[in-house]
């Protein structure tokens, strides 16, 4: 039962992270390879504050704010770099983030990470997993609903203009930078929710948990999110998160299961890049 709940929680949280990545592409046509760093920023913010004994509510609030600011900052960089340059930029930021986190041992405890974080609020005899699993499912469904709901309003029209041409947006009185900032904040909020629950659920963070492999995995789930409904996103998440876990459960070495996840993520990126990104990859 617990193993099923662990799988459900991971699947839903990675689906939310994939939705965050897909949101950037849908709104501004940006392909982000650095979503691992975005998720990791949230996770580390919570872990550092929690390990210093700050109250749970403060930790959650600061985690949300820091992840949104980080995401908005990266998204605003698209004012300078687009296309493959933006993808490479997020790639570079991801690697720099991993390097800094692994080397800033005084703050992050280096490659070993921060463990023993506890489960946040006290649950006494109640098993926290019974809370994280439904919360993760609710977060994934609510994120999907909120993103789709937003597509009906004025905001998508503004960002569509910004994505097409910043000069055109400026001409009709829109602020491209503000639109990018708003998209970044929404994407960051989704990533923050996923990161927070992931940290509470796993009770540890380490640089390898949010490396470039995680960035590619989230990108692959994002491709599923671009192709359809919540069911497809969950299908992508199941394929990329559940299959390696089940292989591990079936006796595959833990490290090899990680490589299996990379293999599936790479195959999904190769196979789904054209149908998902389509017109943006062609001249």
């Amino acid at each position: 039962m617990n193993f099923s709940l662990i799988l459900l929680t991971s699947t839903c949280l990675f689906a939310t992270a994939g939705l965050s990545c897909a949101y950037l592409y849908r709104r501004l046509g940006l392909v982000s390879v650095g979503h691992g760093a975005m998720l990791g920023t949230g996770a580390y913010t919570y872990a550092i504050l929690a390990s210093h004994g700050f109250p749970f509510a403060i930790n959650v609030l600061v985690t949300l704010v820091s992840t949104c600011v980080f995401a908005a900052g990266i998204t605003c960089l698209s004012e300078r770099a687009v296309g493959e340059d933006y993808a490479l930029l997020t790639f570079a930021i991801q690697l720099m983030w991993s390097g800094i986190i692994a080397n800033w041992t005084a703050l992050t405890r280096g490659p070993m990470g921060i463990s023993g974080l506890g489960t946040g609020p006290s649950f006494r005899a109640f098993e926290p997993l019974y809370l994280w699993a439904p919360l993760s499912a609710i977060l994934a469904a609510a994120s999907f609903w909120a993103v789709h709901r937003q597509e009906l309003g004025w905001f998508p029209r503004n960002t569509a203009v910004v994505a097409r041409s910043s000069e055109l947006a400026s001409t009709i009185g829109l602020s491209p930078l503000l639109s990018r900032f708003q998209v970044g904040v929404v994407s960051g909020a989704l990533a923050a929710g996923a990161a927070l629950l992931l940290t509470l659920f796993q009770t540890y963070v380490s640089p390898s948990s949010y490396g470039i492999e995680v960035g590619v995995t989230i990108l692959a789930i994002g491709f599923f999110a671009l192709r359809g409904n919540l069911g497809r996103i969950l299908l992508g998440s199941v394929l990329l998160v559940l299959v390696p876990q089940l292989a591990r459960f079936a006796g595959l070495q833990s490290s090899r299961a990680g490589y299996l996840q990379m293999l599936i993520a790479g195959a999904v990126v190769c196979l789904m890049a054209k149908p998902s990104l389509g017109r943006h990859l062609e001249n």
């Binding site: 392909v31 390879v33 960089l77 698209s78 004012e79 300078r80 770099a81 687009v82 296309g83 493959e84 340059d85 933006y86 993808a87 490479l88 930029l89 790639f91 570079a92 930021i93 690697l95 720099m96 390097g99 800094i100 692994a102 080397n103 041409s165 910043s166 000069e167 491209p176 470039i212 492999e213 590619v216 692959a220 070495q253 490290s255 090899r256 990680g258 490589y259 299996l260 996840q261 990379m262 293999l263 599936i264 993520a265 790479g266 195959a267 999904v268 990126v269 190769c270 890049a273 054209k274 990104l277 943006h280 990859l281 062609e282 001249n283």
Partner: protein, 225 residues
């Protein structure tokens, strides 16, 4: 022998990969972002496949390597191989970039429509660039395995450095990619010597990010109307 196999594998993979990407967009022009994302996916796939088959960890060449004393320094086989083969590969690339095929490749990278109009053959480019890039990748891969050993992630790391070198300088020319690679290589070594080996990646990719932001590629940053 091992180097020859490495280069041959690089050439076969590069030609096959060029053909696959070309078949995906048979009638249209391909943007760099398409190639970048597909290559990232393929590199991740290969890393995963290698890791799944052989398992994690570093594997070093099994033989004892003699070294050559020169003044106060000792040059091992990997250093000599890296220096000689790297120099030969760079010289080869410079000469190749001055041939008809090299010029055709540079023109294609700058303006695909014009290149098609003046009759540059897409197939010729696929094979020609596959052979040249495959040779370079084979040399670099063999040196990486010889000097530092190999892990499943080695290929992905090389892809990161390669992509950084290719996109570091603004001109889409073969020699610009070579210059970008030299700049990154020098920066990597300096960062390893002067700062810290573990922070060298941060410095190198900090430089890549700064260069991308400084020169800018969006229409706003380029000031086009």
């Amino acid at each position: 022998m091992c180097t020859a196999v490495s280069i041959a594998t690089g050439i076969v993979l590069a030609v096959v990969w060029n053909t696959v990407v070309d078949r995906l967009w048979p009638d249209r022009l391909v943007l760099g972002s398409g190639i970048f994302i597909l290559s990232l996916g393929f590199s991740t796939f290969v890393t995963g496949a290698v890791g799944l088959v052989r398992g994690p960890g570093l594997r070093l060449p099994p033989w004892d390597m003699p070294s050559w004393a020169f003044g106060n320094a000792n040059f091992g086989i990997p250093s000599a191989y890296g220096f000689i083969s790297g120099l030969a590969a760079c010289c080869g690339l410079i000469i190749w970039s001055r041939t008809r095929l090299g010029f055709a490749f540079d023109l294609w990278a700058q303006n695909q429509v014009f290149a098609i109009e003046i009759g540059i053959s897409r197939r010729m480019l696929l094979i020609g660039t596959g052979i040249s890039t495959g040779t370079l990748v084979g040399v670099a891969g063999a040196y990486g395995a010889l000097a530092n050993g190999s892990t499943p992630e080695s290929g992905l790391s090389l892809f990161l450095y390669g992509a950084g070198a290719a996109l570091l300088l603004p001109k889409p020319l073969l020699l610009s990619s070579l210059q970008g690679g030299l700049v990154l290589g020098i920066l990597l070594v300096l960062a390893q010597l002067l700062i810290s080996p573990s922070l060298a990646t941060v410095v190198v990719f900090g430089a890549v990010a700064s260069a991308l932001l400084f020169r800018g590629t969006s229409r706003v940053s380029q000031g086009l109307r």
